[in-house]
Amino acid sequence: MKLETHAVTKRYGAHAALDGASFSTGDEARVIALLGPSGGGKSTLLRVLGSLLVPDEGSISIDARTLPHDEDGALIERRANGFVFQGYNLFPHLTALQNITLPLREVHSMSETQATQRALELLHRLGLETHENKRPSQLSGGQQQRAAIARALAPKPRLLLLDEPTSALDPVMTGEVLDVIRELAEAGQSIILATHEISFARNVADWVVFLAAGKVQESSTATSFFTKPQTALAQQYLEGLSKYR
């Protein structure tokens, strides 16, 4: 997969979360990590890449296909993607199983039986087989996040986008969730991941996009980013993060 953005700007009021962000990845990037300080534009870039947000200016292409800027086109586009967020964004009034089957039935036109079968298969794969009928409030943070991953994977997304999926979890639960993401990456799933888990990114990502102040500071293979970062900002960032680990 080759991702390319050109001068992407996204403003919230007067604040530009993305301020002319341009980068391109190699042709074979499959697990792309978005790194950088908080407020640097990682989450916004992730949403723009997944068509969850339409940029104010600029263009994005995935494998030379330009993403649409209109809301209807963006809806069709993001239906082919899977999202996992920082908070536990399951629907609280639905069980883990229903959280997965509802979009399958309503968005992806699956039958009830097909949807349930697919959902159970994923819950099983993510170690949640005994929790299918629990509401999110009855699950631990790690279980909720795994259910959210199951929901994102259920329609077999082209691209799985994860926005700091472990930053609300304790270290044990973080481990649970990162294991799942690593397995998905190893199984060949295309992933874009915004994260602060630097050692995880080093192990799993094959491409790194480093953002700060709404701009892409660096875009390179994971190996070259972690061994010899080009910008001073990236060097500081990596040093800061590895100080206590």
């Binding site: 997944g50 969850l52 809806l75 993001r78 239906r79 999202f83 967020f85 908070g87 964004n89 399951l90 629907f91 609280p92 009034h93 509802l102 979009p103 309503e106 968005v107 992806h108 509401r135 409030s137 929901r151 329609p155």
Partner: protein, 291 residues
Amino acid sequence: MVSCCSWKRSQSSWPKSPAENHPGKAALSGVIHGNVLSAKSASTPSTPRRALYALALLVLVSAAFYALFSAVEYHWNWSGVWKYRTQFGIGWLITLGVSLAAMLVSVLLGFLLMLGNRAYWEPVRMLSSGVVEIVRGSPLLVQLLIGYYIVANALRIDQPLLVGLLLLGAFHAAYLAEIFRGAVESIGASQLETARAVGFNTQQTYRYVIIPQALRRALPGTTGQLVSLLKDSSLLSVIGIEELVQKVKIMNSASYTALEGYIPLAIAYLIVTLPLSHLARRLERRFAYET
């Protein structure tokens, strides 16, 4: 929960003392000593106990009212009003029928006004919020008078029942619109983003994400509003509808009594409002989930 004797159980209903938070201090306190029940069971005692409380309260309140009533020298003439029981019954049915229809109108219209308030198109938003503000800000009595004698008259609609239930429904719709709006706006931005992320369009977002969650939050306020609606139906007498209160006024003057009709009147309203509140509480429990 099994407990040996009523004395011990009765401790559970006492307000929780700060000393309970400190086991050491609690042991020193004679009052707290022996309280083995948790705070949760203290707030919801068993059914027989609740019945006992209810009975005791009923006896107390009845005694108080009996004392008040007997202190005033009023000669009750129940046989005078008994003759008019059929008219009373008809009035009750009219009140009930008009109110139920108006409730339907108010919920539907309230929902539409709430959607209008969130519409993409500015004039629709202005219209909805304008209607809500004007209807909420002016008395129902005036709305009934103008609505019936001017608007309905000009439109040649000579059906007081129909006009009355529409006006009553519209009045409470304005309040419901605000209750619904509050409930819908309380659904967090992350839920809306998640709905977009799983690929829901606007309609699906309302149907599967916003409404199911907002429903529970809107229920308590809605119930109160519907109870108010039922009681406000008494104002419909100004446009010539002989609903329950009007029937009672007629009954009182025909039988030369002053107050006799009003006690059955209050009971007739309670027969509807109490089950309504009970039903709402059961619904709330059914929709209950932690967020």
